[in-house]
Symmetry: C3
């Protein structure tokens, strides 16, 4: 049995806030699933790697035994209250800077609250699709929408740690990876704004309508315009891959080479090897190395080791991908720290790596690369 | 070295019967390959993980040393006779219920014979494509074919454990995942029946013709109709993925959500992580966890561990995928049992899981989930 | 801890020559990346699995400590000189036959020089695309080009160990996997030769132009013609997959079954399991098992074990994939030897394989299969 190499402080390059309300067993369980929704009849999301990882790491932080039953844990959580629970959990992650994606709907804490609860730094990640929807709500014409959007993206670039996009991987950006022409953009913006307006009217005149009354950004031309506007700002741009093959972004990666903005691939599992490979080809492409270990529990070390096969070690960044439950911030950080320590410790034990190199690489992946990519606040 | 966790009785959710005839070395060897066919000149299918796993587990059950040479094993097999060999092997699997796909051509034993030989329960899996071919053989017109087919599917649903489809993944079900219109179905049925009739006539008037004289179900519209007819019955529906990406079935999975029939993804390796991911997204989608360990021999634990990364533990079902040789039923069960016991034992040893949880999950995957999904006979 | 099984002499079924010039730190570092190009600012390609593997295996061969800093290693390298360094490194690989792809541009040593430096045998691999470009340079008309090309391919077949193609996987060969008609080929050849001629003229009359002045073989019809011409010669045909899914070649594999030429899939990682699966389906398809371990350093055993899941052991061939640096020949051979020995040693230790079988399989994959496929010089 080889030593587990110690991994120092972390920068969590992508997470969300935590819920402000007290949670029952059912609400808590639903938040354990990545895809949300219901567990199959006769099953529970507690019976997942995430559920087991929460039960491993979190009860001791609230004064309980590891792996205690969920009901007991939830009772203790309510006893402490949501604020104190969040405080205890977030302070146990070892994360010194959180980058917080604020574009998710729901009653979640923002960067300032995360900073207070955790005693760490927190910076904002601006979700491009949410930004476009906000601008659409307050812009009267196509021309003003496009002008305001450009201004808003540039203004965000001054303060945000990075941009994020959740729809790019779904649409794919092939085969036209370059910026669309101004005329095409105006046309697409016009159609999208008109669509939103008619949905808004339908929602007003009756009909329950969907919970999200206005169309989210589902126009590929407008999305491409938005990505190119963001790329021009020089801030890193994070892509949620939603378990799709990053090859879909290969054309965009090739088209944006040398422009000065870094691209960061998030949530690529089970295509994490492909993400690592893309990061090995393009100097400006980076791969996330934390969200998959956070979701795969006892398999975290094995998954993390696969990402370490082809990616240069200077191109890997940690994140928890946590949202809603501070337990997920804990699990993300603990799983990553233990998995990386175990993988690198084994390699040192085998003589494949020197201890000096392993310690240096652990610090790079845990925080050093993120500090270089995202810079100071 | 951690303990191997014991895994109790198994439900084999997908296997086939065994050959009734004595086998020579060559016939036996050909049955070791998933894809069938010939080994390359100068090579043998005994030199595969399956071949080595057969030689590990089976000789001791017939009174020989593990890893004894194939010729010696085949001689002992002939000495005992095909019936006694089958009896000894099937009784050593630890399987208490076999679900037997009876749609494969060839002289294979059916569920009743499997039950007698093994001393276990056996139930039938009805292969939709074979059912459609049988109905076509006995129906005169398009209208009677479609009426008889609907009746046959519903009648099967009353007794069969589940339906299986072997062609859905090959055709893919995108982009039209919904049920086809009645007119489209009539048109497709007419063309398919006419095609069969002309092949039948050609076979009658001369020419050796292929061994399977009538067209198998290769019409995507008719197949889609058949799948939707089956889904309406409320029985589980198993899909052979034939090593294709289960993403091909994502549209069908989304379209059948909430209708009350479960979908089970078989033979997804090397896309087993994608299958597990689909099972994590949809409450009614399940993933098979046995056929890949059965085929990957010494790698069974590693492959099985990958399936356990994302799938909720209530969504995984064991199968051997065995066909033709009772040796493959043994290998499927033994490999799975040892692999699961080893993987979970390691996690308990690491402190990642509690022993109580591991024992419970082992029972769920080995048999509990199958009993819930397939219900009583 | 189980024993590492010894692996005897190797046939490197695919490598390139080494650079004839002395290298500085930057030139050396650039050669460590598969994709070439620049490392991201603030990072170095020494911080990769390949970089760490070079620092593990090579310094002791030049009288230094393992894992010594790159600058010290490069200083020692210059002290010894490029010839002596190459001699020391190549003689430490344990490779007894190198198959050398001579189609790469750059000042690289050829098979004869490799043989002298290494004290081993070396044979040529003829790259089809380079051959077509050479013939185009010396043929005046479409008719003479096609006649000369056919003659050159057949002449190469008499002496070369095998053919290689670097563009087939990029183009894909679907959906038309058969040989193109003579008329189509003449048309494609005419267009390609005319394109080359006009580029040549443009390069002559001014304009910087690209560094490779004449179009490489990027016409899919002409490429397909070339592949079918090669297949007709009966020599093995190697495909560089460039990290693409080998499924792209499935149609070509099916179309060439039984014609007497073997197909060898190179560089399939991260699709190595798919390559192994294709090798399990077709008797004439083989999978490479060395280039991925060479590139994944401390992960070599894990990656190699994945390839050993589905491929029959008679269908796997070792290569280093090395180019430019003799360090990469060392790393390829050492990583493979240690990884295979460790994987098979573990399986023997577990009782999954017998020691006799493991020793036999190690010799097959290391050299026996290659000797059977490529035959004597």
């Amino acid at each position: 049995m080889t030593d587990i190499l110690p991994v120092a402080d972390l920068v969590d390059q992508h997470c969300h806030g935590v819920l402000r309300t007290e949670l029952g067993l059912g609400t808590f369980e639903a938040r354990l699933a990545t895809a949300g929704g219901q567990a199959a009849p006769g099953t529970t999301f507690f019976d997942t790697q995430t559920g087991f990882a929460v039960r491993r790491w979190c009860p001791p932080l609230l004064g309980l035994e590891p792996h205690c039953p969920p009901a007991g844990y939830l009772a203790r959580r309510r006893e402490l209250g949501v604020l104190e629970t969040g405080r205890r959990l977030l302070r146990a992650t070892g994360v010194t800077t959180y980058l917080v994606d604020t574009g998710l709907r729901g009653d979640l804490t923002g960067p300032a609250e995360i900073a207070v609860a955790s005693g760490a730094d927190a910076r904002e990640l601006v979700r491009l699709e949410s930004l476009a929807e906000q601008i659409a709500d307050t812009s009267g014409t196509v021309a003003s929408f496009l002008a305001n959007l450009a201004e808003a993206v540039h203004a965000s670039a001054a303060s945000a740690a990075a941009f994020t996009s959740v729809t790019a991987a779904r649409h794919g950006l092939e085969p036209d990876s370059g910026p669309p022409s101004p005329g095409t953009v105006r046309g697409a913006a016009g159609r999208w704004l008109a669509g939103r307006e008619s949905e808004r009217r339908a929602a007003r005149t009756g009909g329950g309508g969907p919970s999200a009354p206005y169309a989210s950004l589902d126009d590929p031309v407008l999305l491409r315009h938005l990505l190119w506007t963001a790329v021009a700002c020089g801030r890193p741009l994070q892509f949620h891959l939603h378990s799709t093959d990053p090859q879909r972004l290969a054309g965009f990666a090739a088209a944006t080479a040398g422009l000065g903005s870094d691209l960061v691939l998030l949530h690529s599992y089970p295509y994490h090897r492909q993400a690592a490979q893309l990061a090995s080809v393009h100097p400006h492409v980076y791969a996330d190395v934390g969200a998959a270990p956070a979701r795969t529990g006892a398999r975290a070390a094995a998954v993390l080791a696969e990402i370490l096969e082809l990616a240069p070690f200077g191109k890997l960044l940690f994140s928890s991908g946590a949202q809603g439950l501070p337990e997920l911030h804990v699990v993300g950080a603990r799983q990553f720290r233990e998995a990386l320590g175990r993988v690198l410790g084994d390699w040192v034990g085998d003589g494949a790596w020197s201890r000096t190199d392993a310690t240096r690489v652990a610090a790079m992946i845990g925080s050093g690369n993120a500090r270089r990519v995202y810079g100071p606040a």
